[in-house]
Subunit: 325 residues, 2 copies
């Protein structure tokens, strides 16, 4: 019996798929049955410096590891799904130009993996996969109109409408970090100005805190510390007024962005994921308050803003789900 | 032979439906075959002051007029679709609280019309119906990911993704006029601040022009005129610098809004409808320029921003299409 596998006697062993989460640091895979039970896992370092062939081989090896872990042959799989950093083309399964996977630019990942594994492969955006996983088995279970917003280095998103994952015409739907919050705001690398990502990502909060500390005479325990969201969180928990103010401001901008997003998507639930979401009420309280102040009557009362629940596995669940479509 | 009916010998006479556009002034109906050919029409004044029963009866009479005009019996219809001002519940076919149809608040329009006509009825938002019509037979023909934005009293929208009309969880998707353009902007009746509608509607342009004329020493032929978008348009066409500036500013805000909308919806075409769209390059040129300046590489090059093509009939086409679903 392998540590990650529950009692096989009681398990559904048909409709098996493997979901892969391809990250800049690690490649992780999970073999799931159609009930969403993880029967095997694989994990490898992503060999970025060795070029795209090594990364593709690493994914294939990780898939084989998960299959072996579950004592399942690749021939018994219904498919493999891969969540990878965007931008990418989910229709053709081609990686386009992700910042943290430079060696993979232009790689036809779906085709290469299908040759390598002899299994049907689907490739999609990692933020989409996290949302699809959360909507299947996490915070969004049973919620047909669902948005998952990840507050990390950037602000990413994935979106399910009527139970279907939304892609748009070329796979760039739900780029929720790039809606305008302030049209006079600073330029974003995406080309737009005053994007939500410039105000409500973990990176934005740290940068903004650093700028204010450099420019203003503020009394705070954050001065002379290594600035991270964790440090700002700890300071806020300890009652530091400036740290509390930074969370209040970040949550306020987040709430402003969520109003726009709901006015377009009309989702009934937004799950927040990523580092900042783990700050709990410090970020949720201002975001919910602003959402209720600015949202539309008849809609806002019905929208739940909650924390995502699957953690790092969300993308694996989503990719395994996609693999059977 | 009736004036609105083409040669019946060559026409498809099965799968007939009637689309109705319920407005605050007129109720208009068209009987269509599945090729989108209009075989008969009805038009009546909407009897707002006589209460909801009269309005419902007016719709039913208008449907009968269109059927009679096409020499078709109600029993031969596959359904009736009604586009009505929102907010409404498209799932139940209930009018909620439209500003310009106060007597209809809370009316179960679908159920009442089905009793009155003994035909299956669908009710949906008028902006959705215009978009659905344009995507079927107008500017968006053959475009699977399509947004129609109406620039009139407000800024409304309807949206088709993968060929499907988007509703969201309670029928409030694509409220495109209520995305934030400036989070510090003025309050919108919807509850939000700095909404696109406050900058890019016909109403907003007239209000803004009036305010600037009152507050600033501006030399313009618009001074002492009745201010309408038509007057501003005529002045701009005559080369009036201030009128040109107002179109430039309005188009700029519109472009800023369209960038946010495409970053969420990833549509490949936006059709602009309503009074301001008729101003042509005066509004399209700045909107397209800003869109190309702020949009995302890999997306913006593929997005067409065009004028809607069906005029006042768009809603009738859309409602007739909905009626067969």
């Amino acid at each position: 019996m392998l540590p990650s596998a529950p009692d096989r006697g009681s398990l559904q062993l048909s409709n098996l798929t493997i979901g892969v989460d391809l990250g800049g640091t690690n490649t992780r895979a999970g073999l799931l049955n159609e009930n969403g039970e993880i029967l095997g896992r694989g994990r490898r370092t992503t060999p970025l410096s060795e070029g795209s062939d090594a990364v593709v081989k690493g994914i294939a090896d990780c898939v084989r590891d998960a299959a072996k872990d579950a004592c399942v042959s690749l021939e018994d799989l219904d498919g493999v799904g891969v969540g990878a950093p965007g931008p990418l083309d989910p229709y053709e399964g081609v990686i386009i130009s992700p910042e943290n996977l430079q060696c993979m630019h232009g790689v036809q990942l779906k085709d290469k993996l299908e040759v390598e594994l002899n299994v049907r492969v689907r490739v999609d955006n990692d933020a989409n996969m996290a949302a699809y996983g959360e909507q299947w088995l996490g915070a969004g279970r049973g919620v047909d109109h669902f948005l998952c917003v990840t507050l990390g280095t950037g602000v990413g998103g994935g979106w399910v409408s009527e139970g279907r994952l939304m892609h748009g015409f070329n796979g760039n739907a739900a780029e929720v970090g790039h809606i305008t919050v302030d049209h006079n705001g600073s330029r974003c690398p995406c080309g737009n100005y005053g994007c939500l990502e410039r105000y409500a990502s973990a990176t934005a909060m740290v940068t903004w805190t650093r700028t204010r500390l450099a420019e203003e005479q503020i009394e705070t325990i954050l001065r002379d510390q290594d600035l991270t969201t964790k440090a700002i969180f700890d300071a806020a928990e300890a009652g530091d007024a400036f740290a509390l103010e930074m969370f209040e401001a970040t949550g306020t901008y987040l709430g402003i962005g969520l109003v726009s997003l709901v006015n377009v998507t009309n989702v009934e639930m937004i799950a927040l994921a990523g580092g900042l979401a783990a700050a709990g009420d410090l970020i949720f309280e201002p975001a919910r308050r602003v959402f209720m102040n600015r949202g539309t009557v008849g809609v806002k009362e019905h929208v739940r803003i909650v924390e995502a629940s699957l953690g790092d596995d969300a993308g694996i669940f989503g990719a395994a789900r996609l693999a059977r479509e």
